[in-house]
């Protein structure tokens, strides 16, 4: 039995060995045929290549992808221009060529040094950009004197253009030549001419926008002239990317903001978390940063006292002021410190630990329940409430609503803000927590700091009855599922009702901004910039508007519309704008008007 199997196996194996032999033979034949092709048939071609000529491989640079707003309007694109390049390999002497060039067009010593430095870093047949976007006069000069300038090349190129100028400055950022450090990035290595995004989405999306480099193999003679192309492997344009911003709303936000000196507006689609508008002033024009020479413009930006390069929507840190009261109220309700009917009497101030804590309304609000305390923004009520809740539970609720969190939506330098706790203070300030600081935090002052983006996310989460809306700057589908914040289901309705009353009932702090055509809810906030002394409080000046601009309060408003089944959330912060009710709420209303009018 075993022997018969053995014999059978030997037969099968011999047969297969024969097949394997045939298979190997055919593979070797293919190799032999290939060698015959290269070494005999095409030999003449390769011989000439090898003898007199050089093969040069040039990178075909990819065209950067475009960026569009949510409706397909182009907000970053490319324009054809002529640039001047030098290929070190084709010059007799790089320094000499550059010196000759200086006779025709001026360029400074520092630049010359940089080019020579870069030429040592990259392969010697690589072109290095000398000047971009040449005007006609220079183009003609260089064309006419070509013989004196070996190694120089004019090349069609693309220049980045931002058609919306400053309106998308902070969102898009800008592009620029890579630094020597950038050249180590895997996706741009060995492409020294490639502009890459330096900040904003241009930087975040570099890998998608850059596209793929192609290359072209050319035969060049000894003087560097291209004799013929051997093969071309075209480059691939980078991806076009759409973002969630609505160009019209973005522009209108700037229109509103520019009536003031500094501030931010962020509008969020509550259903999807998409950011529809994110405006920050002062802003800058990225086209002017890209355009060389840009030295003067840079200096202007860097010396500007209000730092236009800062994206206040995500980098500005503000005390939320009274807009924080919803969080404190929710913490109180969740932990059953108060209920709907419990009241607190406000006579304009309370005393705690031999210090007076004032309500913004010096005369006092009288007897307040929680709903009215939000509606009329009674400070005393929230002093008392936060005292009973304690800082830890307030901080916990604040974090549920997205304060003290980085959303990482695509921007570097996004600020985290501060949601203070005892542990935080011990670690950061090496001090223990004072009970009075809980009271101050309870009205959104003190250590508590938030960004406008965090405020709009907080508002959206309240409006969505506790769904943890996650913001995004990219387009997102309507049916995105969000987690729910636990144990607030029974209380969130009350908060939304109170926010409705803020706008729509008499005595509500934003009642003057009420709309007849649609409903919206919200909460005003006025955050102190300067500590108010007792003397100032008693003096008449405090009431008047002639306080120094930089000492004026920040004006805040957060809100959403429509009040039932809300779709849009907003946060408005006007630096030193006075009060939330008088400055920020009317802006929010005008933005909502615009949204309905333009059917955004």
């Amino acid at each position: 039995m075993y022997h018969s199997q053995h014999k059978k196996q030997i037969t099968v194996q011999n047969r297969r060995t024969f097949f394997l032999f045939l298979g190997k033979l055919s593979f070797f034949s293919i190799i032999g045929w290939r060698l015959f092709n290269i070494q005999i048939l095409d030999s003449a071609k390769y011989k000439t290549l090898s003898k007199n000529n050089q093969i040069s491989v040039k990178i075909l640079y990819p065209v950067r992808g475009e960026i569009k707003d949510r409706n397909g309007n182009i907000i970053a694109t490319n324009k054809k221009v002529y640039d001047l390049y030098v290929i070190p390999e084709q010059t007799k002497n790089l320094k000499e060529t550059l010196n000759n060039l200086n006779n025709f067009i001026h360029f400074d010593f520092e630049k010359k040094r940089k080019i020579i430095l870069l030429s040592k870093k990259v392969k010697k047949f690589e072109s290095i950009k000398i000047e971009e976007n040449l005007n006609w006069e220079k183009l003609e000069l260089i064309e006419a004197n070509k013989n004196h300038l070996p190694g120089l090349h004019l090349q069609e190129d693309y220049q980045r253009v931002y058609p919306q100028n400053k309106y998308f400055s902070h969102i898009l950022g800008y592009i620029s030549q890579p630094t020597l450090n950038d050249l180590n990035l895997p996706f741009i290595s060995k492409m020294p001419r490639l502009d890459i995004g330096k900040t904003g989405l241009e930087k975040f999306l570099n890998e998608d926008l850059i596209g793929k480099a192609g290359n072209i193999e050319v035969e060049v003679n000894s003087s560097g002239k291209v004799i013929r192309e051997i093969s071309t492997n075209p480059s691939m344009k980078g991806q076009n990317i759409s973002i969630s911003i609505d160009q019209r709303l973005q522009k209108f936000s700037y229109f509103e903001l520019e009536k003031h000196k500094a501030g931010s507006i962020v509008v969020l689609n509550i259903k999807t978390g998409e950011i529809l508008s994110m405006a920050s002033i002062p802003a800058f024009d990225p086209n002017l940063i890209i355009k060389k020479p840009n030295k003067n413009y840079w200096e202007l930006l860097l010396n500007h006292p209000l730092s236009p390069l800062t994206n206040r929507s995500i980098q500005g840190l503000y005390s939320p002021g009274s807009t924080f009261k919803m969080i404190v109220a929710l913490a109180g309700l969740k932990h059953k410190v108060i209920n709907y009917s419990k009241t607190q009497f406000c006579d304009g101030k309370i005393e705690f630990g031999d210090r007076l804590y004032h309500c913004w309304n010096k005369k006092g609000h009288g007897s307040m329940n929680i709903e009215n305390a939000i509606k009329e923004s009674c400070d005393v009520f929230f002093y008392e409430l936060s005292k009973k809740i304690g800082i830890e539970k307030i901080a916990q609720m604040a974090k549920e609503f997205g304060l003290g969190e980085k959303y990482q939506i695509g921007f570097e330098n996004e600020k985290q803000g501060i949601v203070p706790t005892k542990k935080w203070k011990r670690e950061k300030l090496k001090e223990s927590w004072y009970a009075g600081e809980t009271l101050i935090t309870g009205i959104g002052q003190g250590y508590l700091l938030t960004t406008p983006l965090q405020l709009v996310v907080m508002t959206a989460r309240i409006a969505a009855n506790g769904k943890k809306i996650e913001p995004t700057i990219f387009k997102r589908k309507e049916n995105k599922e969000f987690d729910k914040i636990p144990n607030i289901n029974n209380h969130i309705g009350l908060i939304n009702r109170a926010m409705f009353k803020v706008v729509n009932e008499q005595k509500g702090t934003a009642n003057r901004s009420k709309s007849e055509e649609y409903s919206f809810s919200g909460k005003t906030g006025t955050s102190q910039v300067k500590k108010i002394t007792i003397e100032e409080r008693e003096s008449d000046d405090y009431k008047k508007k002639d306080v120094d601009w930089k000492n004026r309060d920040h004006a805040l408003f957060v809100g959403y519309t429509p009040s039932e089944n809300p779709k849009y959330a907003i946060s408005v912060v006007i630096e030193h704008g006075g009060s939330g009710a008088s400055t920020a709420a009317p802006i929010a209303k005008r933005i909502f008007d615009y949204i309905y009018k333009q059917k955004i």
Binding site: L20, K24, I30, R34
Partner: protein, 365 residues
């Protein structure tokens, strides 16, 4: 060990092996512009050491080889594992391991032990039971474990060789052809599971390997230089030491994976075809030894060794002539590189061992 067996050793095979390694030495001498340093001298030293090992391996009683086949497989597998572990704790991707101060690339060694392990397995197996599920599972593990370990290194050239080698040997052993079709389909289907089960940094390593964009000039440039070297060699070549080094300056692997192009430039089509002929001869002798052998163990080892050599040669030549993307496979005996030389010579030792024990009666079933 009976040294007197040495008189029966296959002299033709040995002669071709020595001839090839001397051609390698000459090519490396030329690659260094007429210098024995840095490659040529070391190459011949390595060859000498490997040749001694070849003799030792060929003289061992085949019974012992058979007895320790699995042990050897596990030991080499352990080496391969340790590379992966050093890869985690060390500085990222590595294929090398230090043993007694010598750098070894376990993925090369493991190929030989796969041949041994599969040969032992099929020797033990009655032919009518070869298709049983559990009898398919075991050899598949012998292939898949080292294959997976080399993929995640990532050493795609070697993992590809391991895969072809393993599948080829199962074919030789007599596994039904439709089972290969099924097996291949299962592999394709289970690919996403494999991908998800490996670590993120391993995924990244593999992706960065597969993504040549990291060097946009990269392979196209290397290849055109390689073709110019081969093509300008024409029929008879430019002559020894007459190759234009300037082109090969652009070949970072001229002394290892691209050594064949240098031979093509200096010795022409005649030279390259002669090399192909020498390798074919080695493979032919291995086939002859296989058919001659009366025991399955020897037959499968011989065919495995032949297949292993064939894979090296064809992948390397296909790569340098532009028939296949550059994956990093040396040309045995010609390329500079220690472990591949050692691994191939040990496998040749096994082949000659089978030749010396072709009618070993104790191995008969």
């Amino acid at each position: 060990m009976n040294f007197s067996k040495i008189i029966n050793i296959n002299v033709l095979f040995l002669f071709i092996v020595i001839l090839l390694s001397f051609i390698g030495m000459a090519a490396l001498y030329s690659a260094a512009a007429g210098n024995f340093d840095p490659w040529s001298k070391k190459h011949i030293i390595r060859f000498t050491i490997s040749l001694i090992l070849l003799f030792l391996v060929s003289l061992i009683d085949i019974k012992y080889v058979y007895k320790h086949s699995y042990t050897l497989f596990f030991l080499t597998l352990l080496l391969l594992f340790s590379v992966e572990i050093f890869g985690i704790f060390g500085k990222g991707a590595t294929r090398w391991i230090q043993i007694f101060g010598v750098s070894i690339q376990p993925s090369e060694i493991v190929k030989v032990s796969i041949i041994l392990a599969l040969a032992k397995f099929y020797h033990n197996l009655r032919f009518d039971r070869i298709g049983k599920i559990h009898n398919l599972f075991f050899p598949m593990m012998i292939i898949i474990i080292p294959f997976t370990l080399t993929v995640i290194q990532p050493d795609l050239g070697t993992s590809l060789s391991i895969f072809i080698l393993g599948v080829g040997m199962m074919f030789i052993a007599g596994v039904k052809i439709w089972k290969f079709v099924v097996g291949l389909s299962i592999m394709v289907i289970s690919y996403p599971f494999f991908w998800n089960s490996i670590k993120l940094y391993q995924q990244k390593r593999i992706l960065s390997f597969l993504n040549p964009e990291s060097d946009p000039l990269g392979q196209g440039y290397q290849l055109i230089q390689s073709k110019i070297a081969l093509g300008s060699g024409s029929l008879t070549g430019k002559g020894f030491l007459e190759g234009t080094q300037s082109y090969l300056e652009y070949l970072p692997e001229k002394q290892t994976d691209f050594i064949f192009t240098l031979i093509g430039e200096e010795f022409g089509f005649i030279g390259t075809i002669f090399i192909v002929f020498l390798y074919s001869l080695l493979i032919l002798i291995a086939f002859y030894i296989s058919i001659k052998s009366i025991h399955i163990f020897g037959r499968i080892i011989s065919l495995g060794v032949a297949l292993n050599l064939f894979i090296y040669v064809v992948l390397n030549m296909a790569m340098v002539t532009g028939l296949m993307p550059v994956v990093g496979i040396p040309l045995p005996l010609l390329s500079y590189g220690g472990t591949a030389m050692l691994s191939v010579m040990i496998s040749f030792g096994l082949l000659l061992n089978v030749d010396l024990h072709y009618n070993y009666q104790k191995m008969k079933p």
